[in-house]
């Protein structure tokens, strides 16, 4: 496991090559782990060694046992593991001095800020533990990308065009005040720590006084308290009372408001782009075409080839934006960016430190996991 390659002094080797032992902090039986192991098998590499999140949270030293000097480590998201989620929530509640709460129900969208506090603390511990090692995405940068509000400010500070950030809100009243102040009729409200479309609400109103909130968060009333649940079906709320409740529940877990950037049209819908930057270079890319304002691929959107939808100069704009955005995270090698390219601008909507779950999407003949298993080092050396 500790075999020294002849080019040990080159930067690529120092960062670990494809043949280096590979450790993944992840979740057993997850799609991500399956994709990664399948890629390694296809490349003739030994399987990655899994350190489950739940084991690491119980005993961080279990990771040390897996760390060899030339190891490469990838941090995958803790995902749907209920126990891990509960532990992170518990830790977060302690940090934020909030009362520990009952475990969430399946799919419940609640306390994402508390979860993030726990996750951020875990990442800080990982940063210390993994400091001497080659880590695919730096823990501090993972934390930065997962805090959408900070991430957007970070991107803007690096000169990337982002949707105008309008401010954080504590509830529906503050949203209304903010709209009045900015004279806006439509905005996106986003849970600051929500992943993908979770806690994202497309809000608009018109001069006749109609309101509409489109979201994958479903309001369930009639329980002890009103709650939100993530759903794969996007729905629209038009009753002001329900909208206020949805916004209040999203804002209660820390939310911000940003401008609604118009997306380019495709047929009866619109599309944005997911571009995966590998080692700073735009690689896998897919257009996500949807009839609703959220185009995340698990929400009924369709995939399309950006090359079929964008002109050459727009594709160049897309690649340039992904490259510049990736440069804002110099210690992360695998980043998914959501972009809107329209006219002469490419807006960066989000950066996703775990944006490589793109099953079946090929770039230069390789899927995202195969491609990243090969990055940063030549493929010439066979596995020992």
């Amino acid at each position: 496991m500790t075999a020294t390659s002849p080019s040990a002094s080159s930067p690529a080797a120092r960062r670990g090559g494809p043949a280096s032992p590979f450790v993944v902090l992840g979740v057993a039986a997850s799609k991500r782990l399956r994709g990664l192991q399948a890629a390694r098998a296809a490349l003739g590499l030994p399987p990655a060694r899994l350190v489950p999140w739940r084991d690491w949270l119980a005993d961080p030293a279990c990771l040390d046992a897996a760390l060899a000097p030339d190891v490469r480590v990838k941090i995958e998201p803790p995902g749907d593991d209920v126990e891990v989620h509960a532990r992170l929530l518990h830790a977060g509640a302690h940090l934020l001095d909030r009362p520990a709460r009952a475990p969430l129900q399946h799919g419940e969208l609640c306390a994402t800020d508390v979860w993030f506090a726990g996750f951020e603390q875990a990442l800080a511990r990982l940063a210390a533990q993994l400091a001497p090692f080659d880590v695919v995405n730096d823990p501090a940068e993972i934390a930065l990308m997962t805090d959408k509000w900070r991430c957007q400010q970070h991107l803007a500070a690096h000169g990337l065009p982002t949707p105008t950030l309008l401010g954080r809100i504590g509830g529906f009243d503050e949203l209304e005040a903010l709209l009045r102040r900015h004279r806006l009729e439509r905005v996106f409200v986003k849970a600051r720590h929500g992943s993908s479309a979770a806690g994202v609400v497309a809000f608009r109103r018109n001069a006749r006084g109609d309101l509409q909130a489109t979201t994958s968060a479903h309001l369930v009333e009639g329980l002890d308290t009103p709650r939100l649940f993530n759903d794969k079906r996007i729905r629209s709320y038009t009753a002001p009372r329900e909208i206020a409740r949805v916004i209040d529940l999203v804002a209660a877990q820390d939310a911000y408001v940003e401008a609604w950037v118009p997306k380019p049209r495709c047929g009866a819908g619109h599309f944005d782009l997911r571009v995966l930057a590998l080692d700073g270079e735009p690689a896998h890319r897919v257009a996500r075409v949807g009839l609703r304002p959220m185009t995340n691929l698990h929400l009924d959107s369709r995939r399309a080839d950006p090359a079929a939808l964008l002109r050459a100069e727009e594709l160049a704009l897309m690649e340039d934006a992904a490259r510049r955005a990736a440069a804002a995270f110099p210690r992360s090698r695998v980043i998914g960016f959501d972009l809107v390219v329209k006219g002469r601008r490419a807006h960066v909507l989000e950066a996703n430190a775990f944006g490589d779950l793109l099953p079946g999407l090929l770039w230069q003949g390789r899927d995202a996991y195969v491609a990243q298993a090969g990055v940063a080092a030549p493929l010439a050396e066979p596995a020992p």
Partner: protein
């Protein structure tokens, strides 16, 4: 997804977005769509003037107007007036689609429409008019000798529009498509309003009738099934609505509908056995997008 699925057509032409600053081609197979983002700092009237000035307007046959900025608060009157003013310089102009907007651009029931009387008067040669959105839509009782296709797409057709249609005369009409919608979104009439409008507008040359997105789809089907004149139709389109077994049984029992080349019932609540009977009886039937729902839990496809 292939390119062809993205291709949109109007008046037999492929829709292409007009880019300000470019010169529109006069390719006969192309129709331009003019649209503005909601935060655009220009007006549709200005964009329209720009478009008409940058090509050979005398050859222009058709036009699609997409989003005109804040279509939820401002109607189309200003740019419709601009178009009407230029009518003498648009001798070939035959087809207009106003309101080609997506859900993201403007919720269909929020699209503010306007008065189409002056436009119809200004373009006696107009053959096709398609309007999306019925809020504030005014179609005064009109006579237009040339109109062959009239389409109104909306989440709820106001009774006032039905009443005006029932007093209009379009003797050349070949295609009539009305989206009836749901009462939550502006459909405040009933089957009698629809019946009066269709009875007045149907011509011996009518080949395509669409009564789509109807919450009262069963009633519509039951009425149409009794109408002998439906035998002249090539296409009957009752899609996007809430048709169920009651409507399907009426269609099956009708002696007039057997010869339809196309009977589109997509987005339906029809049971499997009746679907099979429909397929056997009417080969042109289309039963895509089957819905699931009890009688009192049915929704039209395009409402909110």
């Amino acid at each position: 997804m292939t390119i062809s699925e993205q291709t949109e057509r109007f008046f037999g032409k492929t829709i292409e977005d007009f880019e300000p600053g470019t010169t529109p081609s006069n390719a006969p197979g192309t129709v331009y769509r003019l649209s503005l983002d909601y935060d655009a700092d220009t007006s549709m009237a200005a964009l329209l003037a720009d478009f008409l000035d940058s090509g050979d307007a005398s050859l222009l046959e058709a036009l699609v107007i997409g989003s005109w900025g804040e279509a939820a608060s401002d109607g189309p009157e200003e740019f419709l007036a601009e178009l009407a003013t230029r009518a003498p310089r648009l001798p070939a102009f035959k087809a207009l689609f106003v309101g080609d907007m997506t859900y993201e651009e403007c919720e269909i029931s929020w699209i503010t429409q306007g008065d189409y009387g002056p436009l119809l008067a200004a373009f006696p040669q107009l053959q096709a008019l398609r309007i999306r959105g019925a809020t504030s839509l005014v179609l005064p009782a009109a006579t237009h000798a040339g109109l062959r296709e009239l389409t109104i797409e909306c989440g709820g057709l106001p009774r006032s529009v039905c009443e005006a249609l029932a007093q209009s005369s379009f003797p050349a009409l070949e295609t009539l498509e009305l989206w009836l919608g749901a009462d939550d979104y502006g459909f405040d009439g009933d089957i009698d309003d629809v019946r009066l409008a269709v009875d007045k507008l149907r011509t011996p040359g009518l080949r395509t009738l669409g009564l789509r997105d109807a919450q009262i789809a069963d009633e519509v089907a039951q009425w149409l099934a009794t109408q002998a004149w439906t035998a002249q139709l090539h296409t009957l389109d009752l899609s996007l609505g809430t048709i169920g077994d009651a409507g399907a049984q009426a269609l099956l029992a009708s002696p007039h509908l057997r010869g339809l080349a196309r009977l589109d019932l997509s987005h339906h609540y029809i049971s499997k056995p009746l679907q099979a009977q429909l397929r056997a009886a009417i080969p042109g039937v289309v039963l895509d997008d089957e819905q699931d729902g009890d009688e009192d839990d049915r929704y039209v496809a395009v409402g909110e």
